[in-house]
């Protein structure tokens, strides 16, 4: 029923559960992938995807059907992921197993020692969550700055500044561990 599917955003705004399910089915993969890129933990990414869609459902009356659903969902997902990172900040961060378990599209460079990779991942986990998210999305995942800015609700200039600060802090941490980049 094309007429019905065209009305999905409008029906979702009015609280229609079927429309919400249609949007969930269409976007759950991309929202999950976006969150996984930030938190780098598949089990946590699943829980945060559920949390994100719950937040989306709660905010249905604030959704503007004329605007795209995906960037709005990403922004809510980014906020949920940031909350999770802030809550976990006191924990130890990445282990070598965490790094190895993540579904990746590239094999590691044998020219960089495994110990350096692990220490870098652990130093990265110690960065403030706001800097981490900007750096992981811009540097590691190579997402366009404007998409990262929209997801974080900040300007493109602020994203670039956060990435610069993240790299500078990472360098300082690595130098303190005796690793010269």
């Amino acid at each position: 029923m094309p007429e019905r599917s065209e009305n999905v955003p409008n029906r979702f705004r009015l609280g229609d559960l079927d429309a919400f399910e249609a949007l969930f089915r269409e976007h759950q993969r991309s929202v999950y992938g976006w969150i996984l890129r930030i938190v780098r933990d598949p089990a946590a990414a699943e829980d945060l995807t559920i949390e994100t869609f719950w937040r989306i459902h709660r905010a249905h009356d604030r959704f503007e059907p004329a605007r795209a659903f995906e960037p709005w969902a990403r922004r809510i997902a980014t906020r949920a992921a940031l909350d999770w990172l802030r809550a976990r900040r006191s924990e130890s961060g990445f282990t070598d197993q965490d790094v190895a378990d993540l579904p990746s599209k590239s094999a590691p460079d044998p020219g960089i020692a495994a110990e350096v990779r692990l220490k870098t991942a652990q130093a990265f986990a110690r960065l403030p969550p706001g800097l981490r998210v900007a750096a992981v999305l811009s540097v590691i995942e190579e997402q366009p700055h404007k998409d990262v800015a929209a997801a974080l609700g900040i300007s493109v200039g602020a994203v670039k500044l956060r990435v610069f600060r993240a790299i500078r802090l990472l360098r300082k941490d690595l130098l303190q561990q005796g690793i010269t980049p």
Binding site: L14, G15, E21, F24, R25, Q28, R29, Y32, G33, L36, R37, R40, P42, A45, E46, T49, I50, E51, F53, W54, H57, R58, H60, D61, F94, V99, L102, P103, S104, K105, S106, A107, P108, D109, I112, V116, R117, L118, T120, A121, F124, A135, V136, V139, I140, E141, E142, F164, I167, R168, L170, R171, L174, P181
Partner: protein
């Protein structure tokens, strides 16, 4: 930190935390869990009025200000 150093750190970072596979998807269907989460939260039911804590905090701040400085009340009323 020069550009070369910055580029080297970015490269080590990419090697340490490789990009996630774009084709990745959840290991299970998350819809039943989303429904359970919604059902567990009665505040999410459509039609219920939303309580915004910021509105109440702003109102409380205004009342405290008005009590502390009663002489400003006519000025506020003039500009309303």
């Amino acid at each position: 930190m020069n550009k070369q150093e910055e580029g080297r750190i970015k490269q080590i970072l990419r090697e340490s935390l490789p990009p996630v596979d774009p084709a990745v998807e959840p290991a299970r269907d998350l819809w039943p869990a989303v429904l359970r989460r919604i059902d567990a939260d009665p505040a999410a039911a459509p039609g219920l009025p939303r309580q915004n804590w910021f509105d109440w905090a702003l109102l409380a701040g205004l009342v405290v200000f008005a009590v502390s400085f009663p002489a400003t009340i006519p000025v506020f009323l003039y500009y309303l």
